[in-house]
Amino acid sequence: MAKVFAIDVAKCNGCYGCQIVCKDEHCGNDWRPYAAPQPETGQFWMRIDEKTRGQVPVVKVSYTPVLCAHCADAPCAAACPAGAYVRRDDGLLLIDPDACTGCGTCVEACPQGAVYLNADLGIAQKCTGCAHLLDNGWDVPRCVDACAHEAILWGEEADLADFLEGAEALPAVAGLGPRAFYRNLPRRFVAGAVVDLEADELLIGAPVTLRGSEGFEASQVTDEFGDFLFEQVPADVYEVVIAPEGYAERRLKADLTEIDRTLGDIPVERA
């Protein structure tokens, strides 16, 4: 039965353990016919995409594990002129290192850069799902085994149904029948604090409204630190309206099309 990867980004602490064990398994180790040795450095069959978000004093780092999605309609396999791509019953898509000619067509074809060219060996290489281990007694690939947080799972779709409900694929491969699904992929956030500088006090319970360009609206009140934080909102240009009782309303623009924003300490004045 075909299996899928299920990755919860919210559970990833960024330890890079998955990226490391992939190298531990494949760098310098020859698992042909499943996989030839991976070069010592430079290839990331499992890689962490790390992104620092926001500005002082609201800064977060998101870590997204990215690996070959073993897509059903894999453009890499379709592009391969040598017929080196092999689909297994468990859904894993392998490149036969003996059949691969190293032409590099598939490297170009993968929309998420998950296929690498090994110049020394003259072949293309990528995640095998540790198929050589699965065929020799292992239940899961190395990355799944190593994760302390069960942020990466691999199993039957039916067994992962709870996870898959509402999960999504990475945008680059979304239309290709990918077999890697994610929860909690980072969107955008906007944060700030509301302060009465004259009183030298942060305002607690101040209403703050976030309005997007297409009818999106969300409201909250500032917490005990005078903070507001709108998380996981779509990329958009927003208006932030701050209207504490007895104070003049403040309206600020927050352009979240490219990045997350920390608006800092926003002064308000008595009306």
Partner: protein, 872 residues
């Protein structure tokens, strides 16, 4: 297909001292380590077998997990065994001639030639005998107290001292570089004087504290704590899982630090940026708000605190005319006064605990005893020991009995066969922080170097009132150094001064035994190649996991790399050679080994480990390779932290003179009545005792940034810096235009713009003590006005000594040399002033052509061949 030939278990923690952690399955194929993976307990045990502990709180459940929780440092560890920087065979510095010129000035500069083990041990034994005879063995400085691989029978650190214990009339006749309470500095030198808490100075006991926090706390303050980094080498990722647990059950994580550390990055609900080592000002202002707004537990203070009036007198400004208001603090610590007030009020109105591992930047900065004491005072004002109000730590669980997670039923100990230095009170010693000064300070019997306390982390509070001196009245100064801990330069307080010290002519012989050609190793006269633990058999007791205690039978995984021998075997070889001198050396080998082989040691160690042998027979251990021990029955009944003290301080007093929380420290008042820096009541100290490390200091004109140099994310202190798979991670190294991987320097975008720095630039951090290079990362993870570079990078020295220059980014080289304060001999290695400027690497290469031309592996970094000039 063969995916392995065999599996052996290894503990890949990095603490040393026989304290194992991070138990891994090591698969071996064709004589090589092929993979390192977690151990799955469920292959041998059910949760019921192990009396699995659980937290069931707020509708959620935390379970300890049925596999070991290995950090990337352990998962990648085979690369250390196969590092191109391994010491391949015994080496002698080419221009060190014990019968002629010793050329001490060339240490670090001159290359090495290959010699045989026989020749090396001949030379070493002859030097030990000669120095013992000419000066006395107290002229031999033993550096045997560092962190490193955890080995027991092959005691990696201090095996030398154990051997010398068998020479002469009584044990201990040599000079020990004393193991300091490093990383706990402020707790040890400060907090103890408020609350006792032997022997670290952090809260002890912490029994059931994390369970209680889960039930009762609204927030946890992470005051510089980074559970996603610091505990990795000590016990793995259970602290990380507990941070997620706090997230899950809605406990607010509030981070107070200059940097967005790796825990803040993924767990914080709130970050309060504070300038490095200005926490004391912030703490005083919090106390001020509580005092002026009535937001503290007056009843508790009345019954549990000694000297609150003194503290109040100072905080409110009656002592010095300066009320410690939020506005006063804001100027010093960079936190706006309105935010200080909000924090104080939040804390005053909620159940708040404080987490550490081991104390963030301020605990290792100048005057660290002050913020440490102030933290205890603040906890005291909020009813320390009551539900939800505790201090707890995410690292070194069980060490000295401090354990915030449920305990095991069995605590095995292998100290009976531990061939390393035992952390008792050394007979003859100097503080590690004062090693350079001891050598270069010109001290004599009439004008000795003095300090207080044995400075060993296991000493009690009163020990800090004893005065010691070097050289001792009947001893010569240091003439030989024997190190198995060669990372003084990159881990301690002022490595450039250390370089000058060991290049002094008084140091006639410098011996290093170590697996790798790194850091101080490059200063040695003779280098002995030591095996990694993969190459050795051993027995280990893992009590640090936060899951279940284990005892592990560690088979040899691979053959020795090159001519390496085990740490213990290397010292045994020296013992054999010393026997030739007869007299007090007669029979040394037999005395040292107690007549046991290593296999016999392993069995003897197990039989004396306090594990019940009828239930857990040795033969079964050899078969199953490990035993995991169940959770203690009824662990839930153990009193929570300082609950008993909170409930009845008279019946359960603290270990202070008054038995209470001493906001006025009676011991300090009695013994150091004139000390204005560590006085009876904790104060804000601007500058003193050789430290001018404030942004307001005159020096800040030239060195305007405060440097945060945390315990590293991708190393344990100086360990792991040669692992290619770590060095590829974007926060581990930054590729310079020359392809060299530089240690990152974090610069806030506002500062970067002003300074003309961009991602990937090579920059120099500098002060009057020297300079180190780094690769710039422009990031919001550091507040403006502050720079960040992890400590512990491998040195790659371009120019040695005071005013020197290091390419590796080992910023301890330019740390202050002065100790915590005059009467507190701790290290100061964080939160000090530096300048930064962009460096033209091509120009530097032209200035130091030899260093830039050295062999270098772009993936692993420095390589041994760079230093070896004669291979046969």
């Amino acid at each position: 297909m063969r995916i392995k030939d065999k599996t052996v278990l290894k503990n890949l923690g990095s603490c040393g001292f026989g304290g194992a952690a991070n138990t891994a399955c090591v698969d071996v194929l064709d004589g090589k380590v092929v993979r390192i993976r977690p151990l799955h307990y469920d292959e041998d045990y059910t949760p019921e077998d192990l009396n699995e502990w659980r937290y069931e709180v707020r509708g959620h459940t935390f379970r300890p997990g049925m596999k070991t929780l290995l950090p990337p440092l352990s998962l990648a560890y085979k690369k250390r065994a196969y590092s191109p920087n391994r010491v391949p065979y015994p080496l002698k510095r080419v221009d060190w001639d014990p019968k002629g010129e010793r050329n001490p000035q060339n240490r670090g500069v001159s290359g090495y030639e290959r010699i045989s083990w026989d020749e090396a041990t001949d030379l070493i034994a002859a030097e030990i005998e000669r120095i013992g005879r000419e000066y006395g063995r107290r002229s031999i400085l033993i550096q045997g107290e560092g962190h490193g691989e955890t080995k027991v029978v092959s005691g990696a650190h201090g095996c030398s001292s154990l051997m010398l214990d068998y020479v002469g009339d009584e044990p201990g006749d040599y000079l020990i570089q004393a193991r300091q309470p490093d990383s706990w500095e402020g707790w040890y030198w400060g907090a103890k004087h408020v609350w006792g808490m032997e022997t670290h100075g952090q809260q002890n006991p912490q029994d059931n504290v994390i369970w209680d926090v889960s039930k009762h706390s609204d927030a946890v303050l992470f005051w510089g704590a980074d559970p996603e980094t610091t505990p990795w080498g000590w016990g793995g990722l259970q602290p990380s899982r507990l941070c997620y647990w706090f997230d899950e059950i809605g406990i607010k994580s509030i981070h107070i630090a200059p940097d967005v550390n790796y825990t803040n990055a993924v767990h914080a609900d709130k970050w309060i940026p504070v300038l490095p080592n200005t926490d004391a000002a912030l703490q005083l202002a919090i106390a001020y708000v509580w005092m002026t707004e009535g937001l503290y537990d007056k009843e508790y203070v009345a019954t549990h605190v000694e000297g609150f009036d003194w503290f109040e007198y100072y905080v409110l400004g009656h002592e010095d005319g300066v009320p410690k208001t939020p506005a006063w603090a804001a100027e010093k610590c960079g936190v706006p006064s309105y935010r200080i007030k909000a924090l104080a009020r939040y804390w005053g109105r909620h159940k708040v605990s404080i987490a550490h591992c081991n104390g963030g930047g301020y605990i290792r900065s100048c005057f660290s005893h002050e913020p440490a004491r102030l933290e205890v005072c603040l906890l005291g004002m909020q009813g320390l020991g009551n539900p939800g109000v505790h201090q707890f730590k995410f690292i070194e669980w069980v060490l000295q009995g401090v354990n915030p997670v449920p305990p095991s039923a069995i605590y095995p100990t292998l100290m009976g066969v531990y061939h390393g230095w035992r952390m008792g009170a050394p007979k003859h010693f100097i503080p590690k922080t004062m090693t350079p000064d001891a050598i270069l300070g010109g001290y004599t019997h009439d004008n000795p170097m003095t300090w207080y306390g044995h400075v060993v982390c296991y000493m009690k509070r009163e020990d800090q009132f004893l005065e010691f001196r070097y050289p001792e009245p009947d001893a010569h100064p240091i003439h030989m150094i024997w190190s198995d801990t060669p990372c003084w330069e990159t881990c301690w307080n002022g490595g450039n001064a250390y370089q000058d010290a060991v290049r002094d002519p008084s140091i006639e012989f410098y011996l290093v035994q170590h697996p790798w050609m790194e850091n101080d190793t490059l200063l040695a006269d003779i280098i002995l190649p030591v095996s990694t633990l993969f190459e050795l058999k051993d027995i280990q007791a893992d009590i640090f996991s936060g899951q279940w205690n284990k005892i592990v039978y560690e088979e040899q995984a691979i053959e020795p790399v090159g001519e390496a021998k085990g740490d213990y075997e290397a010292v045994c070889e020296i013992a054999r050679k010393l026997e030739r001198f007869g007299g007090e050396y007669e029979g040394l080998y037999a005395k040292f080994t107690c007549g046991r082989t290593i296999d016999e040691d392993i069995e003897y160690g197990y039989r004396t480990s306090e594990v019940p042998l009828d239930e857990y027979p040795f033969e079964k251990l050899k078969e199953q390779k490990y035993f995991a021990f169940p959770t203690k029955e009824n662990w839930q009944d153990d009193p929570v932290g300082l609950e008993l003290f909170a409930k009845d301080p008279a019946a359960h007093p603290l270990r202070t003179p008054s038995g209470k929380l001493e906001f006025y420290s009676i011991g300090l008042a009695e013994h150091f009545p004139d000390d204005k820096v560590r006085g009876p009541v904790p104060h804000w100290i601007e500058e003193a005792d050789g430290h001018e490390e404030r942004i307001t200091s005159a020096r800040a004109k030239d060195y305007p940034f405060l440097l945060v140099s945390n315990h590293p994310r991708w190393r344990v202190h100086a360990q792991h810096d040669d692992i290619p798979w770590l060095r590829e991670i974007p926060t581990c190294k930054v590729a310079g235009p020359d392809g060299y991987l530089y240690e990152p320097i974090w610069v806030n975008p506002r500062d970067a713009e002003r300074l003309g720095l961009a991602d990937g630039d090579v920059a120099k951090l500098f002060n009057e003590r020297g300079a180190v290079l780094g690769g710039v990362i422009v990031t919001e993870r550091i507040m403006p006005g502050v720079l960040y570079q992890d400590h512990g990078a491998r040195t790659d020295v371009l120019r040695y000594g005071a005013g020197g220059l290091d390419r590796g980014g080992a910023n301890n080289l330019i740390c202050p040399s002065a100790t915590t304060s005059k009467n507190a001999a701790g290290e100061v290695t964080n939160g000090f002033l530096v300048g930064i400027e962009k460096v033209d690497v091509a120009a530097l290469a032209a200035e130091y052509p030899e260093a830039f031309a050295r062999d270098y592996d772009p993936a692993a970094g420095l390589v041994a061949t760079a230093r070896i000039v004669k291979e046969d």
